[in-house]
Amino acid sequence: MSSNLENKNIYRGYEAVIGIEVHVQLKTKSKIFSTDPTKFDAADNENTTPVSVGMPGTLPVLNKLAIEYSIKAGLALGCKIRNKSVFARKNYFYPDLPKGYQISQYDKPICEHGEVTIVVDKVPKKISITRAHMEEDAGKSTHFGDYTLVNYNRAGVPLLEIVSGPDMSSPQEAAEYGRTIRQIVLYLGVCDGNLEEGSLRCDCNVSVRKVGVKTLGTKVELKNLNSFRFIEKAVEYEIDRQIDEIEAGKKIIQETRLYDPDKNRTFAMRTKEDAQDYRYFPDPDLLPILINEEHVEEIRKKLPELPFAKATRFQSSLGLSEYDSAILTSEKELADYFEVVSELSGNAKLSANWITSDLIRELNSNKVEITNSPIKPEELAKLIKLIDSGSISGKIAKTVFTEMWSTQKTADLIIKEKSLSQVSDTSVIEKMIDDVLATNPSQVEEYRSGKTKVFGFFVGAAMKASKGQANPDLVNQILKKKLDQQ
């Protein structure tokens, strides 16, 4: 089993070592150190104040919610929360960096030593989280050949940079790690997870080494990966490229490479002659963040159940398949929906089936979020109960479901209006008749021995069992067929 897995992650006799830094934008209304808004669709430099533009004399004041969100995320990633963490200045010059330094955390990050479980091909794997630190985002430069224009709307947007250990060994694992982090921060409600808007940005550090070699190869940093698909493709390309280089007798250069999705390749960014010297030092404008144990515990108590734990529970105590569990826990809102349906209907498996197939299909094709589903979980639960009790067949239920989706009427109403339970459901009638026959063996004997007038008794019993709803013609037909069948 384990050797199988290893084999899968071996590339021409090499293995890959991948670590990922994820910059998660924290979903606050205002920036991390100033009161300007963080809204995405703002006009040029609209989201600015003297603080975020780095005007002379201005000072940072930390956003309380950014601390709360960071602690939340840290705890969800299994991290220890430092009771005293320190902001440091990372000094470098770049036009999108208004102060000539970025306020970040260096040797005393808010979160450390965590781990997160990813599942690739049904196999769970633990990925260590080295640290997660708070920092401010930089502005945005747009290049026009002859000049560059700078927009500080993003400058000062709160980020949590989550740094993994070098624990991933395949492009699939790298992409899955990214997905998992996104899923977790979405569950926590600390990030909107919007990749196109840059709310979640991943940098991958990739190196390769010959199988059996214990020391790490030279790592290359891949940037500009704004989808999990691109992570997978870029890492895949990069592993291949590095092996090619080594096989050709060349050395891997430690550098930053950008992924070009159109060409599906990575290319080196222009390298600087000097190694950067960021001259980190504690920011004297900010006091250390002090967090006491009780506060951490308070937040921990309020943490939602996380996707991996939820999926495990769905399998172990609700008996769902791994596949359904994974789908249902992919979004917290979907899992919540499922749990309401499951509890009210009393049939978890049937609930899971209906949600993962019919409901998700409708949601996707109509581009509707689960929270806006026209079929409320309470109503879906009622439908499932009807199926479960045999009142309607699965086939009829599909019709009812479609009707519920488009009209937002309740299942009961639709069934009543369309007389669905009466006419059509042969399987329900069959089941009822089977029951009637089974509970009245002597009458069956009588009929089959030739006393056919007992037929009327069966019709009455079946109609009674269906509370008068069954279609009498159908009852007659089916009853006759079953009794004559021997």
């Binding site: 104040t49 003297p50 956003n63 290049h143 560059t148 224009l149 700078v150 500080y152 222009r270 504690p282």
Partner: protein, 94 residues
Amino acid sequence: MIIDQKTIEHIAKLARLKVNAEDAVEYGEQLTKVLTHFQQISALDTTNIEPLVTPVDIEFFAREDNVKQENTTEEMLQNAPEKAGNLFKVPPVV
């Protein structure tokens, strides 16, 4: 302790300061002298002493997550040496 010209050049580059040759020599001599003198603190035993940044005990506070803007976008750009619309203009970066 000698701050040579190579070091001065390196420091000036890190600090993004154009320093002419004459000043570079002067800075080299002066910084050598100053740092040689200042090195006396290296004789002090500071084992296990946590560095001090803020010298007074001040209560940590953070602000609520509220939006407040007191200036217009135009005011934020009024001092820009060069701009294009409401964007700051700088030399080509790439």
